[in-house]
Symmetry: C2
Subunit: 150 residues, 2 copies
Amino acid sequence: MSATPRKDLAAMIVPLGRALAAAEVPLLREHGLTMWAYTVLLGLGEQPLRSQAALAEAIGADKTRIIEVLADLDDRGLITRTPDPADRRVRLLALTPEGRRVRGAAQAAIQARENALLARHLPPTLRAPFLEALTTLSTLPPDSLTDPTP
Amino acid sequence: MSATPRKDLAAMIVPLGRALAAAEVPLLREHGLTMWAYTVLLGLGEQPLRSQAALAEAIGADKTRIIEVLADLDDRGLITRTPDPADRRVRLLALTPEGRRVRGAAQAAIQARENALLARHLPPTLRAPFLEALTTLSTLPPDSLTDPTP
DNA sequence: CAGGTTAGTACGCATGTGCTTATCGTGTGC
DNA sequence: GCACACGATAAGCACATGCGTACTAACCTG
């Protein structure tokens, strides 16, 4: 049975995530972005998003906290917040071309760094399976990891 | 070149880590442990550890913050803090048998849950490579992920 | 022995974040 | 039309965490 003596998954993953996130910060700074701003830009995909609450939900942020982030990004012309004509309570969120450019530039820098890191530290045969497994796990619905769901 | 359109590593790993850590909390509670207490028990391996500062460093905690955790674990008989006869300023930290038992029980519960989770969500061919890659990355020196180190 | 250093401890401050409440404009159901 | 619901916003509280300071006991150097 307990044939695999190893550390806990979380004990390995959490520090790894911390380190990767910490490594991103300076790169984001060079592009004038905070982590939250970058997260918002990533959360705004290609299609405009309806309502800030939906965005907050999607990126796991507090809806009262991203307001200033959104206001800042709006001021700087990276996103637009236009009232929905159909329901003027909600704001339609969309990337501007400039926002798309900045997001792309930041992401390119980050992923280039990450790829170099994987190339340096991970044996070639492990890279693809690792990324695939990671993608699989990260696209699961949020509670399939938290619930025991038998 | 940019042949792999994917999310950032950190964008996948960090939420995953959060979810896994959140899933641990209730299990730890059942064993009377907080996350920090559990981290301390994991940090105290088989050999006793010299000095609390070393422990804090090892588990990435603030040395002024784990004091009460250590005091609590000591009070509950899960660890011992004995002054080093050679240098009575430093405390030798060690697991008691009971501490070892509790740590083992908690870890067994956690890993059983994690294994079930992997079995449910990850194709069999990906499991071993995923764990191996994760182990590799998580045993790297902390700054090899943060530094660009050329 | 005197002065400087270190480990452990306690305390306070600043920050980030989650959660709650209040307000305002807008929509919707009765 | 009016009461209630909802989205966005602002303000405040609570808690965890990181960081710095101060104090004590012990060690070490000269």
